[in-house]
Amino acid sequence: MKKKRVIPILLLKNGYLVKSKNFIKHQNLGNPVTAVKRLSEWASDELIYLDITKNNHYDINRDDQNYSNNSCILDIILDVSKSCLMPITFGGGIKTILDIEKRLQAGADKVALNSVMHDNLHLISKASFEFGKQCIVISVDYKYINEKPKVFVHNGLTNTGYSPLEWVKIAEKEGAGEVLLNSIDRDGTQIGYDLDLIAQISNSVKIPVIAAGGAGSWEDMKEVFTSTKADAVAAANIFHFTDQSVYLAKKYLFEHKVSVRSPEMLFI
């Protein structure tokens, strides 16, 4: 039987792991590669890395080290994929087929595409054909404007005018293989997932839905699985501030009859 997945998200900014709130505040949490070792020991089902570096800021911070955004990210992917035996998705700043190819070659299993769907929709179908839909994840950030959910791109700055449902349906038609739904309003707030919207999307598309944004407790994660058809829950902050977090989350879900892989600690 297929298991529901529990997925830590790691946000990268200027080469560092950060904590985020509402996409605005970012607090430095340290080295992105050492975090993987912990998450691997706790038997995470997958990892999602999202690079939220804005190019101009990046260059200012890293001029002294002579890193370009791209080479730094590829180095991180290389190091991360060496440190764990689990699937890894990388997102952030991907604009071309070559960007995707480089990330996959460096050890990513999937890529998450976000703003490029707004800037160059055709890339989705092209990438899906080239690399297979199984490695194309569409990352959808949305927030409520006058009580209506709207998809935002460019790190939450540009309102596309589309609802998440419209957006995800377009992505699915273009050949996306999975969708990562992220509520900007709930990001870093710990008030629980946006269950209604997650239910609506997971009822309306065939591709698997990964729910993110708002996790404050393991119980919040259970709610996603008991009240929606989502395939996975993802979270960032909650997994980085609790020792053995992923193990404990899976233990809680397992004991509450959610079909997750049995919780264990791994030393591989």
């Binding site: 050890g107 297979g132 839909k133 065939k206 591709i207 791994l266 591989i268």
Partner: protein, 212 residues
Amino acid sequence: MSQEIFSKVIKICVLDYGAGNVRSVMNMLSRLNKVEVVLSNSLADIISATHLILPGVGSFPAAMRKITSELPLNKIESQIFNSKIPFLGICVGMQVLAEEGYEHTHTKGLGWISGSVMQFESNELSLPHVGWNSVKKINNDPFLNNIDDSDDFYFVHSFVFKPKNELNALAVTEYGNKFTAIVKNKNIYGVQFHPEKSQLSGLKLIKNFLEN
């Protein structure tokens, strides 16, 4: 976990044809002690290998195009069929063992195990089939030693291998429908999932393959 010492000298050649996930496969194999691993398409490495592994991601036609242009298939076939070298195909590397595939367009496969690769029908469940799932043995084989229902493997695919002969199916997986998760024909093995991404269960399976 990498304490075991295999009972014989092992030299694995991971066949290099430009498949995307080669690095993950190499990362996993490099964790095993006393095992020599090369990523190569050279005759010398293929001839001296005790085990051959064909990784794969992406579509059937793209994989077949690269395999036929980048790999010395005659030599590989002679190693497999005459010298009986154990061979393992992973994901699309397993699917291309079939005689034909129907992804995007009809494409000829390697034809080392009779069967076709078809779109998977998961009924009401989401597709692609992404995530951790168990396998159920239907034929006994040392490849499945110590593997049971509690082992989960990482799958990510929407096409499946349909073997003509049931004896070629070692294990099946349930996902809205049953499909073949592991195929075998003599010394040729193929797995639909990714052992290199399947943590402890994946390592167990790879060790079984290498003990072969």
